[in-house]
């Protein structure tokens, strides 16, 4: 009986992860596509040097960050994939979401300042998987995007 209950819980969690997780991922990708389109006019470079002809009234630090976690289905799928090796596609889409979201947030901060470009952009990832007991209950990671927003000189 106990075994049945345990299997039942597992199946329910898996189903919740599959349905809720997939719906959330789809929604997130749709939102990302929309916001990215609306922020397309802000140019992002990882080049350190400034454009030689540009005149800027202000240069300031902008940061975007997000912490994103896997769902139960992804966790199980990645665990199974780990047995045979190969690409873990469920994580690839998760990391893609996180990184794009961080860039979008950085760009939104730049937009509020009236900037038209962001120079010397750096991307960073920090895993937050461990809990207090040292176990990894789930995979979650922080994504940071930061750079220098350049506000054009309106007088010129």
């Amino acid at each position: 009986m106990e075994v049945v209950i345990q299997i039942g819980i597992f199946v329910v969690l898996l189903a919740v992860g599959w349905f809720a997780g997939r719906a959330a991922e789809k929604r997130h990708f749709r939102e990302l596509a929309e916001t990215e389109a609306s922020l397309r006019d802000i140019l992002v470079f990882n080049e350190r040097r400034l454009p030689p002809d540009g005149k800027f009234s202000r240069a300031t630090l902008v940061v975007g960050s997000v912490v994103i976690a896997e769902d139960y289905f992804k966790r199980i799928a990645a665990g199974l994939r780990g047995l045979v090796g190969g690409r873990i596609t469920v994580y690839e889409s998760l990391l893609d979401r996180g990184r794009r979201e961080a860039i979008v947030r950085m760009k939104q901060e730049a937009r509020e300042l009236g900037a038209t470009m962001i120079m010397n952009v750096r991307l960073e990832t920090a895993s937050m998987a461990e809990d207090q007991s040292g176990r990894a209950p789930m995979f979650s990671a922080e994504f940071i995007a930061y750079g220098t927003a350049l506000v054009p000189d309106r007088r010129s």
Binding site: L13, V16, G17, A20, G21, A24, E25, H28, R48, L50, G54, K55, F56, A59, T60, L61, V63, S65, V66, V67, I68, A69, E70, D71, Y72, K74, L94, E101, M119, N120, V121, R122, E124, A126, S127, M128, E130, D131, Q132, S133, G134, P137, M138, S140, E142, I144, Y146, G147, T148, L150
Partner: protein, 104 residues
């Protein structure tokens, strides 16, 4: 105080270098907001309380770096970098560092 990730401040020249300044803060990742994060285990997605926590920590790290820069008489920090590390289970260090300079 001007902050950039570039090596210079556009339109200005660096007149003095004052060396490296840094600010950091160590936060527990389980600041009572963990129950919601635990529920998020099953559905995944953004952990908003963690995002807010780390943003808060980062702002504090920047403030400390700026305070250090002001203490040495700088009016700008260039070449800023961030780093986040897990120094112990359940704790994260957020650090900001850069070069303090005087621009004119």
């Amino acid at each position: 105080m001007e902050l950039t990730t570039l090596e210079t401040i556009p339109g200005k020249t660096i007149t003095r270098h004052l060396g490296l300044v840094q600010g950091s803060t160590v936060r527990s990742k389980h600041a009572g907001k963990d129950i919601l994060a635990g529920l998020k285990n099953f559905v995944g997605g953004e952990l908003k309380s963690y995002t807010a926590l780390l943003n808060e920590s980062r702002n504090e790290a920047i403030e400390r770096m700026v305070a250090q820069a002001q203490a040495v008489g700088a009016n700008a920090v260039v070449n800023i970098r961030f780093s986040t590390s897990n120094i112990a289970a359940g704790a994260a260090e957020v650090m900001a560092y850069g070069t303090a300079v005087v621009v004119g």
